[in-house]
Symmetry: C2
Subunit: 168 residues, 2 copies
């Protein structure tokens, strides 16, 4: 339950709530990525994570832009989903001994993060459009496009490189 039960009364409230959820999530990802970069030993995976760290900083800025466009305060709210997904990524990273197996595990954990964000941005874009905020939708679309591209890049790296090495 939220601190203020039943505080979401309209679709607009729901949109703002979910925007605050992904804003919190992006900031948590920003904190978690440096550890993943450090743990990754495959140079291409490390580079993909580093690139995504830069993108994530832009995602935070774009969320702030949407808050401003929509005339509401930019603030995050607790998001147990991303906390759980990141906790799981850290758990698995702590349990894998072999470096190649760890690279495969890290890529998979990052894809779970990407998929959470893909789901959230997809929803937010549909809601923004429904609320007549095509301006907000198009800013959020940029974040969604980059999350999808990051996910595809990880699939490619995993299938062409990381899984092969992890299994050998």
């Amino acid at each position: 339950m939220g601190i203020f039960p039943k505080d979401i009364k309209t679709m607009d409230d729901l949109f703002v709530h979910t925007l605050r959820d992904i804003y919190y999530a992006e900031k948590q990802i920003l904190k978690a990525l440096p550890e993943m970069i450090e743990k990754a030993t495959d140079p291409q995976l490390k580079q993909a994570f580093q690139m995504h760290l830069g993108e994530t900083k832009n995602h935070v800025t774009r969320c702030e832009q949407v808050f401003k466009m929509h005339g509401v305060e930019a603030k995050g709210i607790d998001c147990p989903a991303i906390d759980g997904i990141i906790e799981e990524a850290q758990d698995i990273a702590g349990e894998v001994e072999d470096k190649e197996v760890l690279n495969a595990a890290l890529a998979a954990a990052a894809q779970a993060v990407e998929h959470y964000e893909i789901s959230r941005y997809g929803t937010l874009i549909a809601w923004a459009k429904q609320l007549g905020r095509n301006d907000c939708a198009s800013v959020l679309q940029k974040n969604l496009d980059e999350e999808k591209a990051a996910d595809r890049k990880l699939t490619e790296l995993a299938e062409e490189r990381l899984n092969l090495r992890a299994a050998s």
Copy 2:
């Protein structure tokens, strides 16, 4: 950290670990869905959730089949990711007053669940193939296909029906 740190040594260990993660997740979803069915007031959303409850039962059975094919014990392991995603779904459901807005929120929460599963099954299938277990991969593919179809169905319902009503 796991109870037994560094207990994942090979790609095979990682595959089994992640299979146990999604097995636990499917069982948690099985427990969470009846509440979502009860809370949904849109008949088509209720029906989609009910259909997915049936599918989820099959997913559990298919995971057990894969454990058996792979010669390991069918057991779940704690999955903080799905716990967080479900907790967030329950939080949001408790915070929304309006029924139409609640339907839109429930569909979105279910899509976050679907996306977690899509990510996990995608990874498991790639790993199974890498390990030469195409037999396991093709069973897991059935689960993935149904998760993707469920996600598409929810997008369709949200965009054609739920969001429209929630915003009016």
